[in-house]
């Protein structure tokens, strides 16, 4: 077998963060061929789990089919309807209301989590006694099953629960059944659970900032705040994009919390898009329509993620 490493290229002394030279190497063609065999099983699995259901959805979304029809799904072509489902989703008031509500959650929750995560991460840059312990404690909420988190906050926000008790509020001060405060409760729960993720990602980004550049900035007279804005934040751009895109996409899909805490109530006050689709699927059994909506959302979110990635790629180059 010939060498798996083919081309060594040294970094020369121009344009490098570490002025000393080094060698990096690419895989030879043999190495790449072997690599493909290793990756093949995973690719097949992904194809089966992801691509096949996607195509199935696409197929269904172009029909009127529901399970109540009595025919098998692959016979759905019998009720082919072109893009009627897609037209419907454009004019569906309930759908858009749900989307708007979801948007509201994102607009509040994501920046909130970002700000908290950033602040926390900044505190953790330097070592301090007990850092490891606090670090583990902060990460705990993220580890809990979302449904369980929902349950926890369901109990906490009861009229007779600990929240009202601590704040000295009367038992009829409702959180989960109040039109104004139900959404807030969900946002609080979501923030509690997912700020640690932001914290994790942003801390990694911060630690990637070369410490001697920060030191140089301090020696030049920059205050902590100035150095934070001029040195740390700019260098964190790719990481920030990742964190925001990740959280936004996840937040969009928020389900467990709304389902367990409020079931979309009171009325439809906390009916997010996921909940809306859930009801449509299991209550109304309107599967073809749901397929159309699902695919549209997938498409929209993919654009968002791709946009983020493109921006990052541009920055790197």
């Amino acid at each position: 077998m010939t060498d798996l490493i083919s081309d060594m290229v040294p970094l020369d002394s121009t344009a490098s963060e570490s002025p000393e030279g080094g060698y990096w190497y690419r895989m030879s063609r043999d190495g790449q061929k072997l690599g493909r065999w290793f990756v093949a099983p995973t690719v097949l699995l992904l194809l089966f789990i992801v691509v096949f259901p996607l195509l199935m959805q696409l197929y269904l979304s172009l029909t009127w089919w529901t399970p109540l029809d009595g025919t098998r799904w692959y016979k759905a072509y019998e009720s082919f309807n072109f893009a009627d489902n897609y037209w419907r989703l454009v004019t569906d008031r309930d759908l858009w209301a749900a989307l708007l509500r979801t948007g509201a959650v994102i607009a509040v929750a994501v920046p909130l989590q970002f700000g908290l995560g950033l602040g926390l991460a900044y505190l953790f840059i330097d070592d301090f006694p007990g850092r490891k312990i606090f670090y583990s404690i902060i990460l705990t909420p993220m580890m809990i099953v979302p449904a369980v988190v929902g349950l926890i906050f369901f109990l906490l926000f009861q009229g007779t629960g600990p929240v009202n008790g601590t704040l000295g509020l009367p038992a009829n001060f409702s959180w989960l059944t109040s039109v104004d405060r139900a959404m807030l409760s969900v946002i609080i729960a979501d923030t509690w659970q997912w700020t640690p993720l932001m914290f994790l990602i942003l801390l990694a980004g911060m630690l990637g900032v070369p410490s001697d550049q920060l030191l140089a900035a301090r020696l030049l007279g920059g205050s902590n705040w100035q150095n934070f804005c001029r040195i740390i934040l700019p260098r964190m751009k790719p990481v920030i994009i990742i964190a925001l895109v990740l959280r936004t996409v996840e937040c969009f899909k928020i389900f467990d919390l709304t389902f367990i805490m409020t079931k979309g109530g009171p009325g439809v006050a906390t009916e997010t898009i996921s909940l809306f689709l859930y009801k449509k699927t299991f209550a109304d059994l309107d599967w073809a329509y749901v397929a159309a909506v699902g695919l549209t959302i997938l498409f929209a979110l993919s654009l968002l993620a791709a946009g983020g990635l493109a921006y990052m790629a541009k920055k790197k180059g």
């Binding site: 121009t14 344009a15 963060e17 140089a216 020696l219």
Partner: protein
């Protein structure tokens, strides 16, 4: 512009003493080099001056003032890192402007000063480019310019030339000297390269294992080293140091080396040793430039013979590794007839011989020349 007084400073990391009882007085506008091998404590000393570390004992004063309670960002100390630490995500302009921008100076002032500094450092054509696209040599200049532009009270440089290629290093040495004269700043320069120290500094502080060995002007340190370490460290090629026992037989002194070689000690060197308290073991030091072949120059000069093992070329000169009875000598000569394998007669210039106490390493006797 500040003077610096380092008063009896010690720095310990647990049991390890990085710096012990260091006392150093640096006058305003002086260019001082902290010279020593890796790990000798020179970088720790510099960090303490910058305020990045606190002394475990003792204090550091600037113009008589103790700055230990002042925050780093308020000390106004210029610092050039070994790997430059320039802000790679900013343009060259923004790099140079950083120190001024954080002081909220008006935009025109900043622009004016940045342009002037860029001119001075030869970076005007790079102002709008990202700092990461500069060559290593340009990064060096940027690092210096960035610190100089805020007119700090003192300037600290941590082995700034060690990452540069040899040719550029020579060029930057000259540049730095001129810059220092121009800015008139007090400069402290950490290096392990004694050529740099010799050519740049007004005064050199030689440090070994946390202790100050000698502090003086370059030529003083070169011609009158106070101990064995300094004698060995300063001077390129390094000084020959031969260890042995002093034996007095019938009025004539000899240095007897383990390998069997015996070196007669007379003249000034003999007097130096005799005047020192009685010592058995000592080191004889003689610089390669003070060993010569051919004819005897002075009657006191010490004759030896040996085999030339290896010859290196150093610019216009030859460096010969001669072994006399198992003891190795380095000799520098211009002549071409030193070839590996040949037997030669060589002489140690008596006037330039130095004697060092075998136990303490102290130099015996008074000043040379």
């Amino acid at each position: 512009m500040s003077s610096i007084q380092i008063q009896d400073v010690t720095k310990s990391f647990g049991d390890f003493k990085a710096v012990s009882n260091l006392c150093l007085d640096i006058a305003e506008g002086e260019f001082v080099a902290l010279l020593g091998p890796s790990g000798c404590g020179k970088t720790t000393t510099m960090n303490m001056i910058a305020g990045l570390e606190d002394p475990s004992e003792g204090s550091i004063l600037f113009n008589g003032q103790d700055l230990s309670s002042t925050r780093i960002q308020d000390r106004n100390i210029g610092f050039v890192f070994q790997n430059y630490a320039i802000f790679t995500h900013l343009t060259v302009f923004k790099n140079l402007a950083y120190g001024l921008a954080v002081r909220h100076l008006p935009k025109q002032d900043i622009e004016r000063r940045v342009k002037a500094m860029a001119d001075r450092m030869g970076l005007s054509h790079r102002l709008d480019q990202k700092a990461s696209s500069l060559s290593v040599n340009e990064m060096q200049k940027l690092a210096i310019g960035r610190s100089a532009i805020v007119e700090p009270r003192i300037f600290l440089l941590d082995e700034p030339l060690s990452n540069l290629d040899a040719a550029f290093r020579a060029y930057m040495r000259a540049e730095l000297k001129v810059l220092q004269r121009e800015f008139g700043q007090t400069m402290i320069y950490v290096t392990h390269d004694q050529i740099e120290a010799m050519s740049l500094a007004d005064k050199i502080a030689i440090i070994d294992r946390g202790k100050l060995m000698q502090y003086g002007a370059p030529l003083e340190v070169y011609n009158n080293p106070t101990n064995r370490f300094v004698a060995n460290f300063v001077g390129s090629p390094r000084m020959n140091l031969v260890d042995g026992e002093v034996k007095n037989t019938g009025g004539s002194m000899k240095l007897v080396i383990e390998t069997g070689l015996e070196i007669p000690l007379s003249g000034r060197v003999g007097a130096d040793i005799a005047s020192h308290r009685s010592t058995q073991r000592m080191s004889l030091g003689i610089r390669p430039q003070d060993i010569y072949l051919g004819d005897l120059h002075h009657t006191d000069d010490i004759p030896l013979s040996g085999l030339v093992e290896e010859v290196e070329r150093i610019g216009p000169k030859r460096l010969a590794y001669i072994t006399a009875k198992g003891t190795r000598f380095l000799a520098v000569d211009e002549r071409d007839y030193m070839t590996p394998g040949s037997e030669v007669e060589f002489f140690l210039a008596a006037e330039k011989c130095m004697a060092f106490d075998g136990a303490t390493g102290e130099r015996m006797g008074g000043r040379v020349q």
